[in-house]
């Protein structure tokens, strides 16, 4: 039977590296998903995901269990992504990352299974449109849209992750969806 989050956290705080690895492998997918949604490309998502777990390991002593460990991890992931976006903004590197297509091709080549050309092309085009729309959203609105509509988290969970009231989450979601509606009008049937 797999160890509970509480057990893994207790052992990791005591210095058990394998217990921390257990937490990493349990939540790496969701952390990567959040990072990918926020940054729009695999390279930055990988940086953010790695950075999230490094920070979590170093700050594990500060985690007091007032929230679920995954809420805490996702909060670190969102903040790490926001930090990266701010750094890129200062350097004038923001905007749709032109390496998205190249990264997608590399990833597709690395995955197993026969390619489905038309479906892949359509999905890739949608992801580009969504990435483009997300890149134009203010960072806090982007976070809410990624966490709710892409990662499927409920309002209350998002409010705990972002540290804002559920009403603020709903308000940002409303605004972000309205912006995305204009961006995705070609895909709306």
């Amino acid at each position: 039977m797999a160890a509970s989050d509480g057990e893994l956290v207790r052992r990791a705080k005591a210095g058990d590296r394998d217990a921390f690895r257990g937490l990493v492998e349990r939540y790496r997918g969701r952390v990567y998903g959040i990072a990918r949604g926020m940054t729009g490309n695999h390279g930055d998502a990988d940086d953010v995901a790695q950075e999230t777990f490094i920070k979590a390991y170093r700050k594990l002593g500060d985690f007091e269990g007032q929230s679920a460990i995954y809420t805490w991890l996702y909060r670190i992931a969102v903040n790490s992504a926001l930090d990266l976006l701010r750094r890129k903004s200062r350097r004038g590197e923001l905007g749709l990352d032109r390496s998205i297509e190249e990264a997608e091709r590399r990833l597709a080549a690395a995955r197993k299974g026969p390619p489905d050309g038309a479906a892949e092309a359509g999905a890739a085009e949608l992801r580009r449109a969504v990435a483009g729309g997300l890149a134009e959203l203010p960072a806090r609105h982007r976070a809410v849209l990624v966490l709710h509509d892409i990662e499927g988290m409920p309002h209350e969970e998002i409010s705990r992750i972002l540290g804002c009231p559920p009403g603020t989450v709903r308000s940002r979601l409303h605004y972000a969806r309205a912006r995305m509606q204009r961006k995705l009008k070609d895909f709306i049937g």
């Binding site: 590296r17 690895r21 990493v24 492998e25 790496r28 997918g29 990567y32 998903g33 990918r36 949604g37 695999h42 998502a45 990988d46 995901a49 790695q50 777990f53 490094i54 390991y57 170093r58 750094r87 200062r90 350097r91 004038g92 990833l107 690395a110 995955r111 197993k112 999905a123 949608l126 992801r127 449109a129 969504v130 990435a131 849209l145 709710h148 509509d149 892409i150 990662e151 499927g152 309002h155 709903r170 979601l173 409303h174 969806r177 995305m180 509606q181 995705l184 895909f187 709306i188 049937g189």
Partner: protein
């Protein structure tokens, strides 16, 4: 319920966050307003599209290397905190440049400031040097007492004692440091005297009477 209010509630309705009277009112409005009903359908489609746009899993090869890279960084120990200079460069936006050339903009600004300070000092010193040998200072000719005083004021030269007895429009005046020839009996701080270029002093001196 009006369309404007209905539009603001569509998002909450989509997420099941609308309850009670607000939900009933909105549903009633949507039954009667095709435009808002269409907007609601579009919003639902947007949410579906966003869900479909979730990036694919990066694959087993990526995940196979994920933990080893984290472990390697943990084994290296904590990264050193950025130095003050590095944080300052980042705050000023200079970190976009190579480490080799990042000091260049700050150094250029400092060099320009030093140059301007030196230039200003030289102009002031040049003024005083010219004044010390009795020649009329550079710039507009000290045409009369008033002209000399205006010229002095423009250059920030103050504490000027003026020979009041000269003939306006006739006598040429010279601005000289007070240490050069301070009239006897003069009281108060005096840095310069504005005196006639030739001929004896009139004996009447005044400050600020330009």
């Amino acid at each position: 319920m009006k369309c404007r209010k209905a539009g603001k509630l569509l998002s909450d309705r989509l997420d099941g966050a609308l309850v009670g009277g607000s939900r009933r009112a909105l549903e009633g409005h949507l039954r009667e307003c095709p435009s808002c009903a269409s907007a609601g359908s579009e919003l639902r489609r947007v949410r579906e599209l966003l869900g479909e746009a979730k990036a694919p899993d990066p694959g087993p090869d990526y995940w196979a290397g994920f933990w080893p890279r984290i472990e390697a960084r943990l084994d290296r120990g904590p990264e050193p905190a950025p130095s003050f200079a590095a944080r300052l460069r980042a705050a000023l936006g200079f970190d976009r440049f190579d480490a080799v050339i990042s000091p260049a903009p700050a150094l250029a600004i400092i060099a320009l400031l030093c140059f301007n300070i030196l230039l200003l000092a030289q102009v002031r010193m040049g003024d005083r040097r010219a004044a010390a040998d009795g020649r009329a200072l550079s710039g507009p000719r000290a045409d009369g007492r008033r002209g000399g005083a205006v010229w002095a004021a423009r250059r920030g030269v103050d504490n000027v004692l003026c020979d009041h007895g000269g003939r306006e429009g006739i006598d040429e005046y010279v601005l000289q440091p007070a240490s050069f020839r301070l009239p006897a009996g003069v009281r108060g701080k005096t840095d310069y005297i504005l005196t006639r270029a030739s001929g004896p002093s009139s004996g009447g001196w005044a400050r600020g009477a330009y």
